[in-house]
Symmetry: C2
Subunit: 136 residues, 2 copies
DNA sequence: ACAGCTTTGACTTTCATTCTCAACAAGGTC
DNA sequence: GACCTTGTTGAGAATGAAAGTCAAAGCTGT
């Protein structure tokens, strides 16, 4: 079986920046944040840690329009989806009981098995909208 | 205003392979298919054409789990979603009136504007399931 | 301290996608 | 058809996210 991960200071640091932000962030952004905080963590380590956290279901991952991965530690561990601000990354966790059922049903009715679904909502949060308005 | 696109033999070729396949395919796969058919189209051109078709809403684009873009020319032009076989790319177009309403509503209720949604279902199609079973 | 792990990080490598730019082809005009 | 103007092509270089390499450094139990 796979050993439990050792808690090293860099893994702790990555976890901390994740906890500290409400927004979805890319691996590179997190790497920058760490640098700014004074913690020097190699980029490769950030990627590895994020990967591990994602595999363990401890962080949620989603992909931007152009394929970049964004990570965020969510409040709840149960299955849920997100409403993400496309300009700042701020996110709200959302449930969709109806949607869940719909997805499973549609999948099965078409003869597909091992159904999974990708459901994310994108928008502009109130704060970002205000900023855009102001600067125009 | 933007001129209409010129119809070149390479754009026609890309459109043809797209029309010929029911499955979601990557730019590289399409490039291979073209090569196999004898049409020599530069990879860059395949990407450019796909980009243009996507911008014009003539092909649907989605991203695999690891961020690669997949393209497919769908039967209908109206907004819809897909149930895609994660092993062969075969896809079924699906509607979700309920889901559409749900997405818009959730977005608005959280103070977000310009709501868009990403909804895709993944599974293993009957055919691929049969193949796996056979070879095990 | 020691041995036997795991983890790190600077660097290299991979791989999809985009860019550059000179040669080329479409469409319109006479 | 000959010709011009302008969009298009493609080989190769460039980009950028993500994963791999491997020697040095860090833990953990004895
Ligand atoms: Zn925002
Ligand atoms: Zn769900
Ligand atoms: Zn299949
Ligand atoms: Zn929809």
């Amino acid at each position: 079986m796979n050993q439990p991960l050792r808690m090293t200071k860099q893994r702790a640091a990555v976890a901390e920046v994740l906890d500290a932000s409400d927004e979805f962030r890319s691996a590179q952004q997190l790497h920058e944040l760490l640098r700014d905080r004074g913690d020097t963590v190699g980029l490769a380590t950030v990627y590895r840690t994020l990967q591990a956290l994602a595999d363990g279901g401890d962080v949620d991952v989603l992909r931007t329009d152009d394929g970049e991965a964004l990570y965020r530690r969510c409040a709840r561990a149960e299955h849920h989806h997100h409403l993400v601000c496309r300009s700042c990354g701020r996110a709200v966790e959302i449930d969709g009981p109806t949607v869940e059922a719909w997805a499973a049903e549609v999948g099965a009715s078409q003869g597909f098995s091992d159904i999974e679904h990708t459901i994310e909502l994108w928008g502009t949060c109130a704060q970002c909208r205000a900023n855009v308005t102001k600067s125009s």
